[in-house]
């Protein structure tokens, strides 16, 4: 047995996806213990929100998960809606679903780029993926007016409806993306580096996954059928046909596979939603309008975010929140960093970290 070595990774490191610090204990090249240090991005969102009126906060919520801002925006606004007892307009529900699924595609493409960047010399795919992600962002920009932060949700509806000609443009982009995703998969399946570094690495079995409380692609890759869109349907998800993607491997490859299949499924979802979208009014209440007083004492809303299941718990105090608690999916998925890399080699730590897909702003809040 060799002497144990302790090394420090981060907080500034090209592979930690933000500012995460890991203190890794090594036995030779084998990881025996990992100690994550978080909190480098903590800025006290939950406290800040308490000093704002309800509709002043969506912008803060978008910065929780900056790779998929629109989904967090929607989660917060629907929490406020549940509190005020407002129902969302029929067309607005469809618009929201279209935009959320587009955001999911963009977020998953981003994951693909970073995971390949982290496991070795596959920077090429990173370039391709960012080009494709930009096309999706362009679509969202067309619909909402923002490139990265949208703040498009309003109480009871959306700020901007989809512009005329959006469906044709979106279908063109989606056709292209479907073709591209297939290309990526063919390319990566034939890459022996990729397969060697992803298969059998960081296995999380289903029982452990449930015990640790992980959600999203981590849980589904471990063979547990759970998707908040199916388990607690909201909006029009009941009307749309889609499958929840489950893999049984539990390793990095399964997590990647779940993501890739979800992209294809989301493309299908958007296409179907655009096809069968009803006409009508989708605009919500203007932001300056002081909303009705809260009807509920406390609410919990859960949504399937691209990185797992997000929840918000809100207690009102007149026109301001008394307390907003956020269940950040990344924070709970980050727990697995302590357990998954143990027994693997140091370079596998980065593959595992990339496959968990942390957004550190969501972890630290």
């Amino acid at each position: 047995m060799m002497a144990e070595t302790k090394i420090n990774i981060g907080p500034v490191h090209p592979s930690t996806h933000g500012v995460l610090r890991l203190v890794v204990t090594l036995d030779g090249d084998t990881v025996t213990h990992v100690e994550p240090h978080i909190g480098f991005l903590h800025r006290g969102v939950e406290k800040l929100v308490e000093t704002r009126m309800y509709m002043q906060s969506p912008s803060y919520m978008e910065k929780l998960d900056y790779v998929a801002p629109l989904c967090h925006d929607e989660l917060y606004v629907s929490t406020v809606e549940a509190l005020l007892g407002v129902t969302v307009k029929e067309r607005a529900q469809w618009v929201r679903v279209v935009q959320m699924e587009l955001q999911r595609i963009a977020s998953h493409l981003f994951f693909l780029g970073t995971v390949l960047n982290d496991i070795g010399q596959l920077f090429t795919v990173f370039m391709w993926v960012f080009k494709d992600r930009d096309l999706v962002l362009r679509l969202l920009e067309e619909g909402t007016g923002g490139r990265m932060f949208y703040v498009n949700m309003r109480v009871g509806g959306v700020n901007r409806d989809l512009p005329p000609g959006f469906a044709e443009h979106a279908c063109k982009v989606l056709d292209y993306l479907e073709h591209r995703v297939k290309e990526y998969e063919d390319y990566l399946n034939s890459s022996s580096i990729f397969m060697e570094r992803m298969k059998g690495i960081g296995v999380l079995d289903s029982r452990k996954a449930i015990n640790m409380g992980v959600t999203g692609h981590m849980l589904r890759a471990s063979g547990v059928e759970y998707d908040a869109r199916k388990a607690h349907p909201y909006y029009i998800y009941e009307k749309l046909r889609f499958r929840q993607m489950v893999e049984n491997g539990g390793d990095c490859y399964a997590r990647y596979k779940v993501r890739m299949r979800e992209i294809v499924e989301s493309i299908r979802l958007v296409r179907e939603a655009l096809h069968s979208m009803p006409d009508g009014d989708a605009l919500g209440m203007p932001i300056r309008l002081i909303g009705p007083l809260p009807k509920e004492k406390e609410v919990v809303v859960r949504r399937e975010l691209p990185r797992g299941e997000g929840m918000m718990y809100l207690i009102p105090d007149g026109q301001r929140p008394y307390r907003l608690a956020i269940r950040a999916p990344c924070f709970i998925n980050a727990y697995t960093l302590e357990h998954l890399p143990v027994g693997h080699r140091l370079q596998d730590l980065f593959a595992i970290m990339a496959s968990i897909d942390l957004v550190l702003a969501d972890v630290d809040r």
Binding site: V19, L41, R43, L48, A361
Partner: protein, 195 residues
């Protein structure tokens, strides 16, 4: 590990020899009334000007940014380096992982109190001349987190910032513009980039 060899002279000897050298040079220049070779003097002047111009020119056209992202703006930073914007055509080469190889630090994201010492350390590790770009509102002035208890209200309270970029987050094209501004600041005439 490389061990430095002990120099063959003591510090005192070294200082003395320096003084002696200075005296010798001063003595040799005393009796002289005009430069030895006017032509040679001109040439060296020209060479000096050329050399400093070349240094500035090469410094300006090979700005290497540090691969260092804090928050949301880091995503746009990645986009800046990827296919659509293609930072390399402006001379902002690959993002480097170590500060020792970098010229520009792009502070992209909010700066928390716990992150501040790390950023300072990174900046100190960079070789001079070094430049800082405050990218986005959080790095410029604290942005939306102005009232937060854990945020530094702008990186310029700690580091000397050369270019500020406004926006939340600014588009990657804005960063390209900021880099061009920085090039102007470094010196020399700029051939207009056709974006």
């Amino acid at each position: 590990m490389i061990l430095m060899e002990e120099p063959p002279y003591s510090e005192e000897q070294f200082l003395n020899s320096k003084e002696e050298m200075d005296k010798l040079v001063a003595d040799s220049l005393k009796g002289r009334k005009e430069p030895v070779n006017a032509m040679f003097g001109k040439l060296s002047e020209i060479a000096k000007a050329l050399a400093s111009g070349t240094v500035t020119w090469s410094r300006r056209n090979s700005m290497w940014p540090l691969q260092f992202g804090l928050a949301c703006c880091a995503i746009e930073l990645m986009d800046f380096g990827s296919a659509r914007i293609d930072a390399e055509r402006g001379g902002y080469l690959l993002f480097r992982g170590t500060p020792r190889q970098c010229d520009v630090m792009i502070v992209a994201g909010w700066v928390t109190k716990s992150m501040l010492p790390e950023i300072k350390r990174l900046y100190e590790q960079m070789a001079e001349p070094r430049y800082v770009i405050a990218y986005g509102e959080c790095a410029t002035c604290g942005g939306p987190w102005w009232e937060s208890y854990n945020i530094i209200k702008g990186i310029d309270q700690v580091l000397p910032v050369d270019v500020y970029v406004a926006g939340c987050p600014p588009r990657p094209e804005d960063l390209f513009g900021a880099m061009m501004k920085l090039q102007e600041k470094v010196g020399g005439k700029i051939v207009e980039n056709k974006v």
